[in-house]
Amino acid sequence: MSGIKARWELILFPPLVLTMVLLVASQFIFIRGSFHKDLGYGDLSTTYELVNYLRAFSDPYYLNVLLLSINVSATATVLTMICAVPVAYIIARMTSRWAMLLLALVVVAQFVTIAIKVLGLIVLFSPDGIVNRLFLALGLIDETFTILGTFPGVITGLMYYSLGFAVLLIYSVILTIPRSLEEAAQIHGAGRFNVYRRIILPLAAPGTVVCSLMVFNISIGGFASTALIGAGKILTLPVIVQRSVVVNYNYGMGAALAVILLVSVILINLFSVAIIQRFRRGKGMTI
């Protein structure tokens, strides 16, 4: 049977080579492009220079965009996790068959394209929409409000990218914590709160942290919802990447901004892998 293993290696090569070719072909050219200066109207200079990156980190406009992106994504991450963790815990500890249905619902919600969800949000919060009418009728507000161009609107939009993933991920994390541990703690007199604090939290922590980092990554890269709800007033990194290229034809600057986004995401991912490694070595637990 020894020749068979070699056959599997052969089968691995074409996909691997193809993927590598696609990876290099797509990423190399744009990364190289980021080192060229925009000459206007889509032209790029032929020399390599760092001018785009220098501008990105010194021009207040771009710095503002960077800070705003981090701000908005971090807030969205916190809110998403606050919603996801309790829900995931409840479903994970459910004994009835409703758990399956609830999980399926999460998957359904996640799979509808973000464009439709944003459409729904905009209709929901439109001046004649249900929320405005309700609040006006209840006397909570004096005049209609809109979510377009507002921070809460953008942050809410970002939550729709990753709430589903977060619930599913935390769900599988909680499943790894044996219920018997909680029960044992309760038998020994721990109240609900202490059970959470001293059993669940430490054991779920690494998975939760990794999940948060993943949610942050998804949020900081989120384009469609921010572009639509931000309505040109709230500009995050993905939005100005698209604008630089499609509206301004600044391929060099757009590429540089995209590289910055990419590198940030990769660094965060490496960081989260390091967390897993460290935790695995430290406690000998699997996540």
Partner: protein
């Protein structure tokens, strides 16, 4: 309870889209609660929107096929070969997961321009160009779905078949394939959904005038939109639901509940 609140939050936009799709009339804006209940919107969906849906389905199917053609051999190779550095190879295959959609779209756009300038074949704005980019983005999902199924698979079953006289191809066809089918099926449908719902990559790579459905919705929202988009979106939601039901029936939804 918090459960109800979160689920209402999660589904409110989708429910609103479905609900308001039945209120089609002369008004240029959308109101809720709706004034009437009619299917007229569904009958009046303009051609550019239905073309968008067809394009999305076409791109999605091609993506699912391509991603499976690359992902299935890759998974087999990863799980069954003795090659050193498997985790490195696994990581290499999973790199597209790390690249944000805008970056992916931009990268392929510029790559296609450069390749076009060099060879005369401009892939940006073409169907194949978009499909290739989507395949690159979706293959890790296929691998992520098939590898666990393969890992659970017991090679002794194959060995038994071969001891009983089956050739390698027959073994693959009658033992291996049926057992890994659920994973393959779920993975390729996952790839389809990723492609179908994508906005950023398609926005960079679509030809102006012919966009995929999510991009149509995006453009519609940037301007005053024709309220038939709500009807089209409802159809798409129903369609997505059906795809998920099919996955559930054949493979279960485990493929989505997995640690990354």
């Amino acid at each position: 309870m918090i459960l109800a609140a979160v689920y209402i939050f999660l589904f409110a936009p989708i429910v609103i889209v479905i609900a308001t799709s039945f209120d089609y009339g002369d008004r240029a804006y959308v109101i809720f609660p709706p004034e009437r209940f009619t299917f007229d919107a569904y009958l009046n969906i303009p051609e550019y929107i239905t073309n968008g849906i067809y394009l999305s389905v076409g791109v999605g199917l091609a993506t699912a096929l391509g991603a499976s053609l690359i992902g299935i051999p890759a998974s087999l190779g990863i799980v069954r070969s003795d090659i050193p550095g498997k985790s490195v190879i696994m990581t290499l295959f999973r790199i597209p997961l790390q690249i944000p959609g805008v970056v992916m779209g931009l990268a392929f756009l510029q790559a296609y321009y450069a390749i076009g300038a060099a060879t005369g074949w401009y892939a940006n704005g073409t169907y194949m160009g978009l499909v290739i980019a989507h395949i690159f983005a979706a293959t890790p999902f296929v691998i992520g779905a098939v590898v666990p199924v393969l890992q659970r698979f017991q090679p002794t079953l194959e060995e038994a078949a071969q001891t009983l006289g089956a050739s390698r191809i027959t073994t693959f066809r009658r033992i291996t394939l049926p057992l890994i089918a659920p994973g393959v099926f779920a993975g390729s449908l996952y790839a389809f959904m990723i492609s179908f719902g994508d906005v950023p990559i398609a926005i960079f790579l679509s030809k102006p005038g012919t966009s995929t459905f999510p991009v149509e919705v995006f453009f519609a929202l940037e301007q005053e939109f024709d309220t038939t988009i709500l009807a089209a979106s409802t159809l798409v939601v129903v369609f997505s639901l059906m795809v998920l039901l099919i996955i559930q029936r054949f493979s279960g939804l485990d493929v989505f509940v997995r640690t990354r």
